[in-house]
């Protein structure tokens, strides 16, 4: 009897946690299917299936372009920052040089600055490079934003790889580049997938830079496009459209996480126990 109470309490707690964490998403989804006056019903049950919102977000603004922009920016940022981070982490984890610890701490502390603090400096940089109001103008600041994190995580992971493996490769006649590409990279896939995915998500959701460094809707990314959606009059907020758009842009992230789920878990626990 005592045990039954314990079990039911446990499941009640689990249910509570699930409800609290899932409810906002659930509500967004059911709202996105509501149209017209139904939007103002407070019911928590789905009471209509209306895909009007999903069509109108693509008709009323270049939302397809926005999604494409987001994909382009996020993918490029992940590619660039992983390529730079892998090579940087090899040096930081494997080569002894003066000031290595200081450099690592600097990299970490850079990522501690709030985004707003570097906004004006970044703006000057973007202007100087002549990439204001263009996709490269979003790629550069996002890369700057994700790089410290990816470098730090990959350095930690690279340090865990046994030194003898590298030495065996050196004796086999491998250059540093070959060591990274043919020995370390295959062993680092889980870490790469994890950090790559996190970098992708942060670039995908990034708002402040995307808002500041763009002028026209055609180069905006999804979060900004959603925030700037406007209704028929300035007194109307198009809730249905906003919710539909949010659902649409969450889908790729969920799909990515599901695809790489197993690798992520492997990456997060790798190195914890010697295999």
């Amino acid at each position: 009897m005592h045990k039954k109470i314990k079990t039911s309490l446990f499941y009640a707690l689990v249910a509570l946690i699930v409800v609290v964490s899932v409810f906002p998403f659930y509500y967004a989804i059911i709202t996105s299917f509501r149209g017209g006056t139904e939007l103002f019903s407070a019911s928590v049950l789905p009471n209509s299936v209306n895909i009007r919102n999903y069509i109108s977000i693509f008709e009323e603004q270049p939302f397809g372009t926005n999604i494409l922009n987001s994909i382009l920016v996020a993918t490029t940022v992940v590619t660039i920052s992983l390529a730079l981070a892998v090579t940087a982490s090899y040096a930081l984890a494997r080569i002894h040089f003066k000031g290595r610890g200081l450099l690592l701490m600097t990299i970490l502390s850079v990522s501690m600055f709030p985004q707003v603090a570097i906004l004006s400096g970044m703006f000057e940089l973007i202007r100087a490079l002549g990439i204001y109001n263009s996709l490269p103008g979003l790629i550069v600041p996002n890369t700057v934003l994700t790089l410290p994190f990816t470098v730090w995580v990959l350095t930690t992971f690279m340090k865990e790889l046994p030194k003898e493996l590298e030495e065996a490769a050196i004796v086999d006649g491998a250059s540093p580049f070959v060591i990274v590409r043919r020995v370390f990279l295959p062993l680092m896939w889980p870490a790469l997938v994890t950090t790559g995915l996190l970098a992708f998500i942060s670039a995908w959701n990034e708002f402040l830079f995307a808002l500041t460094f763009t002028l026209v809707n055609e180069v905006r990314t999804v979060p900004v496009a959603i925030a700037l959606m406007s209704g028929a009059s300035k007194y109307e907020l198009p809730w249905g459209n906003i919710m539909a758009a949010s659902v649409v842009v969450t889908v790729p992230i969920v799909a990515l996480v599901l695809i790489f789920q197993r690798k992520i878990v492997a990456g997060l626990t790798a190195g914890a126990v010697k295999g």
Partner: protein, 373 residues
């Protein structure tokens, strides 16, 4: 295949000197083993030869060529690591082929060499497996295979057997010995295991705190250790040392009076010894024997029975504990008093600086030749 010559090689990490000027000549086809206590620099010395560490000062020649500035690949060495260091994501074949592919061999050439090595090491059925699907012994064989395929000038082994269990270690030891016979390659081998050193080596290099204490054949080190360190390091269990003073010295013998009053005669060259000089008497456990009378007496503290032999730990009257090895079962009783005899021919004497007075052993090499003839 090549000889390796070290000329006053020095290695410093920051300000700490790890290797203090080592001179060593390793002949073509020789099997040389570095032994020494942990931290003595034996692995560092091997890594200097490999090119994984830079030599701070001094010269290293492989095959007559100065290679201080050369990469491991250019030195044409191959190394087998203690942890095997196989590439976990490659199968056995790819592990062995990696180095060959990097040096740009054609596909057929690589395959032929790998298959040849796999045949020698009996790895053919395992070529498709990943390292994690192999046992420790098999992994070590792959690591050796990876070294063989490149046909290096020098093989370097860094404690290759210490991760294996006892039975496998014996088996792999024999395989390595056989490999050396078959390939006639120059091999340098680091170990802390005496049995490996004694059985595998043509010559043993005893290192201590970054210095070479003695270089010689296994039996030379056993019978004629140059100093107290080598005498204590080679041989298991360790040689017993008893403090004493010289009471009589001649060109053929030294008589040492031990602290507890007993006198022991050792047949060593005592022409440089002086009466009254403090010395250490060294006797190996296997050379001591329990007798009815004579020698010196002691109290049996502990007895260890191993079946084919036994060890007595005997406390002398002056409080020193010495080890006695005997064959078969122990006859002495724990707690009893016994007399220990020291054969004069088998005793060693060391002066205050630890240097040995040379022994009057017949030339071992000459003896061997005579036996063969």
């Amino acid at each position: 295949m090549a000889d390796v010559n070290l000329r006053n090689a020095i290695k410093e990490f920051g300000k700490t000197r790890i290797i203090h000027g080592v001179d060593l000549d390793i002949k073509d086809g020789e099997f040389v083993v570095f032994v020494g206590p942990s931290g003595c620099g034996k692995s560092t010395l091997l890594r200097l030869i490999a090119g994984l560490e830079d030599i701070t000062a001094g010269e290293l020649y492989i095959d007559g060529e100065l290679v201080n500035q050369k990469s491991p690949k250019e030195r044409q060495i191959a190394m087998v690591f203690q942890s095997y260091a196989l590439y976990p994501h490659m199968n056995v074949y790819e592990n062995m082929a990696f180095g060959l592919e990097l040096s740009g061999g054609s596909k057929e050439e690589v395959k032929q060499k790998v298959m040849e090595a796999a045949r020698i090491l009996e790895l053919e059925p395992l070529l498709e497996r990943k390292p994690k699907q192999l046992s420790g012994g098999q992994r070590q064989r792959v690591a050796i295979g990876r070294a063989i395929v490149r046909n290096p000038k020098v093989f370097l082994f860094d404690e290759p057997l210490s991760n294996l269990d006892a039975a496998l270690r014996v088996q792999m030891r024999i395989e390595i010995a056989k490999l050396h016979k078959d390939m006639q390659a120059t091999m340098v081998y680091v170990t802390h295991d005496q049995v490996e050193a004694m059985t595998l080596a043509d010559r043993i290099v005893v290192l201590n705190a970054g210095r070479v204490e003695q270089v010689g054949s296994p039996l030379e080190l056993y019978h004629k250790p140059r100093n107290k360190f080598v005498a204590g390091f080679i041989g298991s269990p360790k040689m017993n040392f008893l403090e004493g003073t010289v009471v009589d010295a001649s060109a053929t013998s030294i008589t040492v009076q031990l602290i507890d009053g007993a006198s022991v005669c050792a047949n060593v060259d005592g022409s440089k010894a002086e009466v009254g000089q403090k010395v250490s008497l060294g006797i190996r456990p296997e050379h001591l024997s329990v007798t009815e009378s004579g020698g010196f007496s002691g109290h049996v503290d502990v007895i260890e029975e191993l079946g084919e032999s036994h060890f007595l730990y005997v406390r002398t009257q002056s409080g020193e504990v010495i080890t006695v090895q005997g064959t078969g079962d122990a006859k002495a009783k724990r707690g009893s008093t016994c007399q220990l005899a020291v054969p004069s021919d088998l005793a060693h004497v060391f002066d205050e600086n630890g240097l040995a007075f040379s022994r009057h052993l017949k030339d071992l090499a000459a003896e061997k030749l005579a036996a063969q003839a």
